[in-house]
């Protein structure tokens, strides 16, 4: 189902949760709303669901304005962060609820068949008689998903669906959700503050910040070409280097990198972002930023180096285990750090 959000704003007391947000989601797409807490992503999701009313703007389902349609009649599947399973009902009754409260209630046999089919889909066929309190977190979340799918929703909304689960289960459910989505082809929107989750699962990522949309794009676009300093910092570890922007180049410690969009800059202060794995480290003087090694931490196959640059600048670099071994570096040793690629912004955040 095509979903359009048109200049939606929402204020809670003094807090502006959403300011003039517009977004289009294509039919069959799985979109992630990614942002820190308080960025408005959950509010946006609840407005699509009809659980909150926007102060202005509108939501369209298939081009039809649903602003006056109550949540009850929107036929939207909603999966809550803390599952919100009906605790006094069995798994079966939970999944059947949406069918049983219908005006034209299907026959008992139809409901039974439908629930069995959904429980099979979420791989919980044998759990129908259990109560939610007897299930693990991952199982509860799958019940919540089956329950939401029972009403054959036009769009599936998920609020931090894996936020309360431990890392292993989260990873599993993530892949499983992606597969499920591919099989069913349902339009889906999920909220997350975990960039890895958004990049791995979604077709398109919408980064929200302070009640607005910062960037919309495919996971690769978002990661490789962050539009703003905020996104750069939000998507994983990043080093901030003070640079001078001058005639289309960013200059750091005798090195110059091309900086598109700053052709007219005349020696202006700027900030360059470099991801830890884009920082080349060498022991021999080959140009770059002179640094000294503070310490190195081995994390599985990679080694994370904490380096001290000029003016007490702290840098982080990530090397493969073999590259680190070849370096034969010890704490306190002087090294050279050379960015492979940088992305520069003016100091006040401009581009």
């Amino acid at each position: 189902m095509q979903l359009d959000i048109q200049s939606v704003s929402k204020r809670f007391g003094d807090f502006q949760a959403l300011r003039n947000v517009s977004l289009s989601i294509d039919s069959g797409e799985l979109v992630a709303l990614l942002g820190p807490s308080g960025s408005g992503k959950t509010t946006l999701l609840r407005i699509i669901a009809g659980l909150e009313t926007p102060d202005s703007g509108q939501v369209l389902f298939e081009g039809e304005n649903v602003s006056d349609l109550s949540a009850r009649h929107r036929q939207v599947g909603f999966v809550f962060q803390h599952y919100a399973l009906f605790r006094h009902m069995t798994v079966f009754e939970n999944v059947a609820f949406g069918l049983r409260v219908r005006k034209q209630r299907p026959s008992k046999g139809t409901i039974e068949a439908k629930v069995r089919e959904l429980l099979h889909l979420v791989q919980l066929e044998s759990m129908g008689d259990r109560y939610p309190s007897q299930l693990s977190g991952g199982q509860r979340q799958r019940v919540a998903l089956a329950r939401a799918l029972a009403i054959e929703p036009r769009v599936l909304l998920l609020d931090e669906p894996f936020g309360a689960l431990d890392a292993q289960v989260r990873k599993e459910l993530r892949r499983w959700l992606r597969r499920l989505h591919d099989e069913m082809g349902i339009t889906g929107v999920f909220v997350t503050h975990d960039q890895e989750e958004a990049l791995e699962v979604a077709d398109r990522v919408v980064v929200t910040h302070r009640g607005g949309i910062e960037q919309v794009g495919s996971p690769a676009e978002i990661y490789d070409h962050p539009a703003t300093p905020f996104i750069f910092q939000f998507l994983g570890n990043v080093n901030r280097l003070p640079v001078r922007l001058h005639q289309g180049a960013a200059r750091i410690g005798g090195l110059a990198f091309p900086a598109g969009g700053f052709e007219n800059a005349q020696d202006q202060p700027g900030i360059a972002f470099v991801r830890p794995h884009d920082l080349g480290i060498s022991a021999e003087g080959s140009g770059g930023i002179p640094v000294s090694l503070r310490h190195a931490v081995v994390i599985g196959p990679t080694v994370r180096l904490e380096l001290e640059g000029p003016d007490r600048l702290t840098l982080e670099a990530e090397l493969s285990r073999s590259a680190f071994d070849a370096l034969k570096a010890h704490p306190g040793q002087a090294l050279w750090a050379r960015p492979v690629s940088v992305r520069a912004f003016l100091e006040d955040g401009g581009q």
Binding site: G77, F86, R87, H88, F97, I151
Partner: protein, 281 residues
């Protein structure tokens, strides 16, 4: 570890602590209870049942039952509505409503009774109006019911509000998203989740409704066989030095207290798992 160290506590200390606790309980709870039953049965079962069988005693029992039968359902409905509104919705005047619900707890029951006298008595605000229309509230059954409702209305709400607040609104929202109407949400989600708290509240409310003395005493007028509830009847009999009869009626109230305790413990024991699961998930 803790278990072991508590076991290693010197025998004397443990014995002493247990003795203190038991004698405290015995002195302030056990002894009065035994006294009530002993005094009532002092002159044999025949006198006991005769005392209970007196017309005035029967009338007092009937009035108490009627009062509770009216006051408890009213407070059940009120308590449910109030706690639903307070726990699930945001509105102006919410804290005022919560303060008002607590009012009967913070005001002495005698004062509550007096308020009704000042409102509905002959010299009261609505007194002349009521007299004109031939409605008798004070020194009659309606007044007793009114005072009882007032004194007991916090019980159900007080039990439900924290429970409902802890449960939050998510399940109702989930039901709504699945297409349930407001009524279906309430009937299928809110009420079943609150049922144990509700029963508990009703139990306490009932115990208090039957045992209320102060407020009822002020508005009842103590008319024998007409406006005496059990607690009031006990006082009258006692003042008349009719100890056996006084204690006989008192045994019924004591039995009610014991029954309430048993019912409460049974509920906690029988439905422990379910109670836990409705509180936390």
């Amino acid at each position: 570890m803790t278990r072991n160290s508590s076991r290693n506590e010197p025998l004397l200390v443990r014995g002493l602590l247990i003795c203190v606790a038991l004698s405290y309980l015995g002195l302030f709870l056990g002894a009065p209870l035994v006294t009530v039953f002993a005094e009532a049965w002092a002159k044999g079962p025949e006198t006991y049942f005769k005392a209970l069988g007196q017309a005035d005693s029967l009338a007092a029992i009937r009035l108490t039952l009627i009062t509770a039968a009216i006051a408890v359902p009213i407070n059940l409905v009120f308590g449910l509505c109030a706690s639903w509104a307070i726990a699930k919705f945001e509105f102006k005047g919410k804290s005022l409503l919560m303060t008002l619900i607590d009012l009967p707890f913070s005001v002495s029951p005698v004062i509550s009774g007096l308020v009704f006298v000042l409102l509905f008595g002959l010299q009261g605000w609505f007194g002349p109006f009521l007299a004109e229309h031939g409605i008798k509230l004070l020194f009659a059954v309606p007044g007793i019911v009114l005072a009882t409702v007032f004194v007991t209305f916090p019980f159900v709400a007080r039990e439900l509000i924290p429970l409902m607040q802890e449960q939050g609104r998510e399940e109702e929202e989930a039901a709504l998203m699945l297409g349930a109407s407001g009524w279906q949400c309430f009937w299928h989600i809110t009420l079943p989740n609150a049922k144990w708290g509700l029963m508990y509240g009703v139990l306490l409310c009932n115990a208090r409704a039957m045992g209320e003395f102060g407020a009822v005493s002020v508005v009842s007028g103590h008319i024998r066989g007409l406006t005496n509830t059990m607690p009031l009847h006990v006082e009258i009999l006692y003042n008349e030095y009719n100890f056996v009869a006084a204690f006989a009626v008192a045994t019924l109230l004591a039995a009610l207290a014991l029954l309430t305790l048993v019912a409460k413990s049974l509920m906690e024991w029988r439905f422990a798992a379910e109670l836990n699961s409705t509180r936390r998930l």
